[in-house]
Symmetry: C2
Subunit: 272 residues, 2 copies
């Protein structure tokens, strides 16, 4: 395996860019190939079988692009597909669940942790399972928030409707006196200020993106897969691919990544 090869990062759409951004910040020497499955999003309301099939196609594409490791930067795909695709893969594959779970378990003081996510992520029960394996005396309260993704995609980040919906979703969690909340969907950090206002300063909000980048860095170093800082670079350091609407993706990516995204290529993912 070429230690100077890129890392593959994928998500159903733009949400995983928050994970890519953390990798860029924390391990700036690494090259990234990002794929967003914009022709088939959202993933959160679809079945395990379908998400595993989609994830396998994307991993085949990323292998054609000769990545050295893969980050599933989507909570739903991490929930449903990580174990399956890890078992099939001869290169490292990590998801976002373990990182988020570990941070929350370390952060809680009263051992009451809330998790919000898509119907798929919450229905899988994986955050609860992983956190209770890490520490068995933890109580986990999970709540699916299916309208958050469409509200974010409509840009209603600071809006009375989003406040009202968020208030309904969080009401049951507030009644459980959680002191830590895992933002178990890559779109949700964009609602951080709304969630912060509703929950108050005393609840720690955990965004798995940061810890995922920490985990990736450790893994690459351990396996001698970290890129040499002086390795030669042909072409763009960061490359972006989607299955639909490449221009819209480019605008969005430019808005949330530190540098300008010059180009996004559209591919037919069903051919992989």
């Amino acid at each position: 395996m070429d230690r100077n090869a890129p890392v593959g990062v994928f998500d159903s759409g733009v949400g995983g860019l928050t994970v890519a951004r953390e990798i860029m910040r924390q391990i700036p020497d690494e090259r990234i190939i990002y794929f967003g499955d914009t022709a088939r999003l959202p993933y959160g309301s679809k079945s395990r079988d379908t998400i595993i099939r989609y994830s396998r196609q994307i991993i085949r594409f990323l292998r054609v692009m000769e990545v050295k490791a893969i980050v599933i930067a989507c909570n739903t795909a991490s929930s449903y597909a990580l174990e399956t695709v890890q078992a099939e893969s001869d290169i490292p594959v990590i998801g976002v669940i373990n990182a988020g779970a570990r941070t929350a378990v370390q952060a809680t003081r009263n051992r009451k942790i809330g998790v919000i996510g898509t119907e798929g992520t919450i229905g899988s029960g994986i955050y609860t399972e992983v956190m209770r394996q890490m520490r068995s005396d933890i109580e986990v309260f999970a709540k699916p928030c299916p309208l958050f993704v469409p509200l974010v995609e409509e840009g209603l980040l600071h809006d009375s409707v989003t406040d009202e919906i968020a208030s309904r979703y969080l009401n049951s969690l507030k009644g459980k006196y959680i002191d830590t909340l895992v933002l178990g969907c890559t779109h949700y950090p964009l609602l951080r200020s709304t969630l912060r206002r509703l929950l108050g300063e005393e609840v720690t909000l955990v965004n798995p993106a940061y810890e995922t980048a920490v985990e990736l860095r450790g893994l690459l170093q351990k396996q001698n897969l970290d890129r040499e800082p002086d390795a030669s670079l042909t072409g763009e350091k960061y490359q972006f691919f989607v299955s639909d609407l490449a221009e819209k993706f480019t605008s969005f990516a430019t808005a949330i990544l530190p540098g300008e995204v010059k180009e996004t290529k559209k591919i037919n993912i069903e051919e992989y």
Copy 2:
């Protein structure tokens, strides 16, 4: 072509069942094969190219099932793909746009018509184009309502949040003094009472499903493709297929169709 063959009806998901229901009511002798593309929904926010590719795959599947005619029971797919797939097909293919446009043009008295739909349908400009071809002195005011589908799918049919969102979307149309509104997405008839309350009794709400069934009946009769009432029937009269979440679809279909739906089969639409 076998006049006793079934009619194929497709949509991105469950919305097109409102069209299937009208066909069942108005031409009860006809058999139906319904396909809902639940693994790739929604269609409304995706590109023309992608929607044409998906529509072609579905039509190939329906041809394998030996349908005699096809109804595109989805406004977005009708907007983007109808013309292309009609030109490629040797069996009749109809969409929902013409039927809805014709009803609205006949219903208006002040020649001011509103159209609401997905970003795809409204962005295509097709309702405006078709209605102005039918009658050039008509003014059309179109408004995309991207949050209506997720709100309907969450079951918030009678809810203060839906009222608030609908009020924002309809505000600009109310200012134009429209007397007719086309519900240009198959999900929207489920919001009829909310829309009615906000617009008042004087605005005619047009649901293209009814007229689409009328158009299909006329077309089948004209081409001698209408099913013989005493034709033998092997298997179920109505068959349902989806690309994901068959059980969830069965429950939904049973709730909105007149009879019980016993089974929905899941297929891999990408193989077509």
